[in-house]
Assembly symmetry: C2
Homo-oligomer: 200 residues x 2
Amino acid sequence: MVDHVRRREELADSVLTIVARDGITGVTMRTVAKESGWSSGVLSHYFNSRHELLLAALRRAAHLQGGQFKLRRQENAADPVKQLEVLIEDILPLDERRVALTRIFLFFYAEAAQDEATREEIADYLSNWRRVVARAVQSAQEAGSVPSDVNPDLLAVQLVAYADGLSMHAVLDAEVLQRIQHDPQARSMLDLAIGAQIHQ
Amino acid sequence: MVDHVRRREELADSVLTIVARDGITGVTMRTVAKESGWSSGVLSHYFNSRHELLLAALRRAAHLQGGQFKLRRQENAADPVKQLEVLIEDILPLDERRVALTRIFLFFYAEAAQDEATREEIADYLSNWRRVVARAVQSAQEAGSVPSDVNPDLLAVQLVAYADGLSMHAVLDAEVLQRIQHDPQARSMLDLAIGAQIHQ
């Protein structure tokens, strides 16, 4: 029996591989067929267009990232501050996988600014990400590492905006990429702390 | 005598007006001719394609934003912390002008991920923005409001990433927009300060 769900995932993974290697423009029905080892006929049984392929890759990327967040939360269950750090650092485009994710999200962010259905998809993704971060903030509060008067939802909005902005700038601007590659301070969310040193 | 530079600017402003009102998809040679009050013939004398129009609007947006940054620096010359705050808050999409800027940058960020020439253009824009912010950090250091051991370039990378990420999320996600509309804490860069309350 053919596992259609699994095959769709495999095809979406092929799209992500191409995006990492060649960028979004490298994705066509033909290149995805070639990358996946399936014929164009089989491919078109699952996806009708290049855009459907990209959308499947976006959902796959969001799903993989969601799983990654969960794993990182479990790995660092004993250290809520570390948990918060990795939830932010984990999306920075420091390897091929994460470069592909950043590129595909950027592509759909631009589309989302023009298309209501895509916007909902992106808003869901961002909302899930913030929820994971807000939970990590709460864990850190329960452990006494973050003061109880911090609003977890507000901090989540801020940390997610920071991490996402930094990721995008890193794929667009070599200076920013070098900065996050060579300066751990730039990667760590705890560096947001620097703002506190400003005297009002 | 026709002032061609001025007319190109006017046409780019018409593009920005359309983007604010109807989004990027609202921009066509026809709608820009209509918005500007010039004929399609005159328009095509200045711009050969929709893409050239959008690129002119991007440059115009970057130029206007640069002028805005300069003005804000001067207005708040006596208060370097306030200067830093407005340099960040000033790009958040809280009115039509800034919604248009955020949309047009998002459109070109996605293009820049695929096109080297656009990437250079975007990297220049980001680099200029960081330079203005780094200078404001230095002013704040000279005034004793920011400790001298803070690296102005690093803080500029962080603040610009934060502001840009927050702007993009606000145009994509109504929850984030409401947050920055109603919660001044979310708008202020000084809220980055919250990170400092995490105990290592």
